[in-house]
Amino acid sequence: MPAEIVLQGFRFGFLILLWLFVFAAFRVVRADLFGGRAGRVASVPPRAAASRKRGGRGPRHLVVTAGPLSGTRITLGEQAILIGRADDSTLVLTDDFASSRHARLTNRGGQWYVEDLGSTNGTYLDQQRVQGPLLVAPGQPIRIGQTVLELRS
């Protein structure tokens, strides 16, 4: 049996070692949270990254640029915007190619994401079919059937 002092050294030394590992792990977690947000930036479409650089605040209006409702303008708040033919949608479309609950625009931290709600004919952001939630940059066209929408600041 080794001396008591050695055992006490082992006892606390190992605990310190264990917690050093935990703090090393925390440092990595922190670097991810506050450091380079590599994972996030990469997923942002190009124009969004550019507009954020200009330092503009989030978009304020949703404008219909083409289709039967052309010219309609909705002021954006905090709430999500539901788009579809259903009567309770925020923007009620009269478009034969739109589903009753077609797409949703949600605000997360000042940025707007478009999400397809399982529509029949799909939602397109910049010609790309929307599958998961996608970040919408101001001026980027969202097409639903014959209707085209875009965010304006």
């Binding site: 080794p2 082992f10 917690w19 090393a24 990595v28 590599a38 990469a42 997923s43």
Partner: protein
């Protein structure tokens, strides 16, 4: 992923934002893996010196083997999932290293002091299982190049999962300690439920991604809760019935609780409807009440949970010993090799957390829990960052299953919950659990690689564009 068609005015080069030469962070991973190996070897050395007075002879072979294991894992990740999360592997390494050290320590206690039960030398066996687990880890990373491909096999995996789950109930000779969980052949036994868990999580994720709109949108509002329509209750009732059947035929409280909890939480994550949690809790409460009335083994567990000391000589012996063990450990523990963790029955598998609590104290136990927490946090973060719905649900489900399992086990060991007989992931002695959890981590690594990988198209598009002279960009 298809190359995005560039709309008017989109400049693909802008995708590479300033200062985001996206780090793969493999260096961080290697450093932390080295740290984890160091901790494990330190633990071994301390145990050997404290208990026997000199370093054991097998320390060198163990050290080389254990280091090689993680070096190989690291190289494979570097090659096949270069953008994977840097913390997943080191956390697993430190947990399994800690587990191996504790099993080694209990081996020594068994041979030296001649414990109550005849003990075998289990640490080398567990190391072999870790190697098998690593083989599965590599296989998953090499074969599953894109986690979305798994969604196509969802129903096949569900079938495999259910068969694996049901197999021990049907086969004879599958009972150990009252629970029918094992398949025995040759000299060893495997616990197919651990693998069934992963198969079923993959299935749940694929199924719920398909059905979540129906489950989330078609609802009635009752008392501020969005209640789903009756017919949409089908899947949750099915999961409930399945977990009840597991409880009845395999007498396994743990797996039953684990599966049902995972399903309810994944349903909640998929639909964002708190009502599913309420429905799940109500179903659980009902099931638990009926099970308490009908099954004696459930009643024993609950009674010993409510008052373990009243049954200290019979059903509550394990819990009481475990509580004494934790109490002996106190804040800072008895030191590695300084306690008597072999006093707790089945300390190597079910009660390894009590052994750690005794030798490393509250501080050590909390460090262990925090490392689990980091592992789960990385899984959930992967789920937030990854771009496809299936990956999100799968990562959330896998991460939650780890968290839920640790919670249920530690709850049982500390007397917070009834004892269930689940294994502590990565720590506890037991091949199936270790191998299956390596597979689980491989899936998380695969998804996190997809999540952190810079949009591959963004970096490769410019080169392709200059090569393709006749591409017409339409407005």
């Amino acid at each position: 992923m298809a190359a995005p068609v560039n709309g008017p005015g989109t400049d693909p080069r802008a995708a590479i934002a300033p200062g985001t030469a996206i780090p793969t962070r493999r260096g961080t991973e290697l450093l932390l893996l080295g740290f984890a190996v160091l901790i494990t070897l330190a633990a071994h050395l301390i145990i050997d010196i404290t208990v026997t007075g000199s370093p054991g002879t097998e320390l060198v072979t163990f050290g080389i083997w254990f280091s090689a294991l993680w070096l190989v894992a690291h190289v494979v990740v570097r090659r096949f999932a270069p953008y994977a999360d840097p913390l997943l592997l080191p956390c697993v390494a430190v947990l399994s290293g800690l587990g191996l050290s504790m099993i080694h320590r209990l081996d020594i206690a068994g041979t030296q002091l001649g414990g109550d039960e005849p003990t075998s030398v289990d640490a080398p066996v567990q190391l072999v299982w870790a190697t098998v687990g690593l083989a599965l880890f590599i296989a998953v990373l090499v074969i599953v190049r894109d986690h979305r491909a798994l969604a196509r096999f969802a129903y096949t995996l569900a079938l495999i999962g259910l068969v694996l789950l049901a197999l021990p109930a049907v086969l004879p000779n599958s009972e150990i300690n009252g629970a029918k969980l094992w398949i025995r052949f040759g000299g060893f036994s495997i616990q197919p439920g651990e693998f069934a868990k992963i198969c079923l999580i993959v299935f749940f994720a694929a199924y719920l991604v398909d059905k979540r709109d129906v489950l989330a949108l078609a609802s009635r509002r009752v008392l501020r809760l969005e209640l789903p329509r009756g017919r949409d209750l089908g899947p949750v009732l099915l999961a409930w019935v399945a977990s009840i059947l597991v409880l009845v035929f395999e007498r396994d409280l743990g797996s039953s609780l684990l599966l049902f909890g995972i399903f309810v939480v994944m349903l909640y994550v998929a639909t964002e409807r708190a009502s599913w949690l309420v429905i799940g809790l109500l179903l659980f409460a009902g099931g638990a009440f009926v099970a308490y009335q009908l099954f004696s083994h459930v009643r024993v567990r609950v009674d010993t949970w409510l008052d373990p000391f009243a049954y200290a000589d019979t059903g509550g012996y394990q819990v009481v010993q475990s509580l004494f063990s934790l109490g002996t450990g106190g804040l800072f523990g008895a030191g590695l090799g300084g306690g008597r963790p072999d006093q707790v029955p089945v300390a190597k598998s079910d009660f390894i957390a009590a052994a750690i609590g005794e030798e490393l104290g509250l501080f050590g136990l909390v460090a262990m829990i925090v490392i689990y927490l980091v592992l789960v946090e990385r899984g959930l973060r992967t789920s937030l960052v990854v771009r496809d719905g299936f990956g999100k649900l799968l990562a959330a489900g896998l991460a939650f299953s780890l968290a839920w399992q640790v919670f249920v086990v530690l709850g049982g060991v500390t007397g917070l919950l009834p004892l269930t007989g689940l294994t502590t992931p990565f720590l506890a002695y037991g091949g199936s659990s270790l191998v299956a959890n390596f597979g689980l981590v491989a899936l998380l690594v695969r998804i996190s690689d997809a999540a952190r990988r810079p949009a591959a198209t963004a970096t490769s598009t410019p080169a392709k564009l200059t090569d393709a002279p006749t591409e017409v960009v339409q407005q």
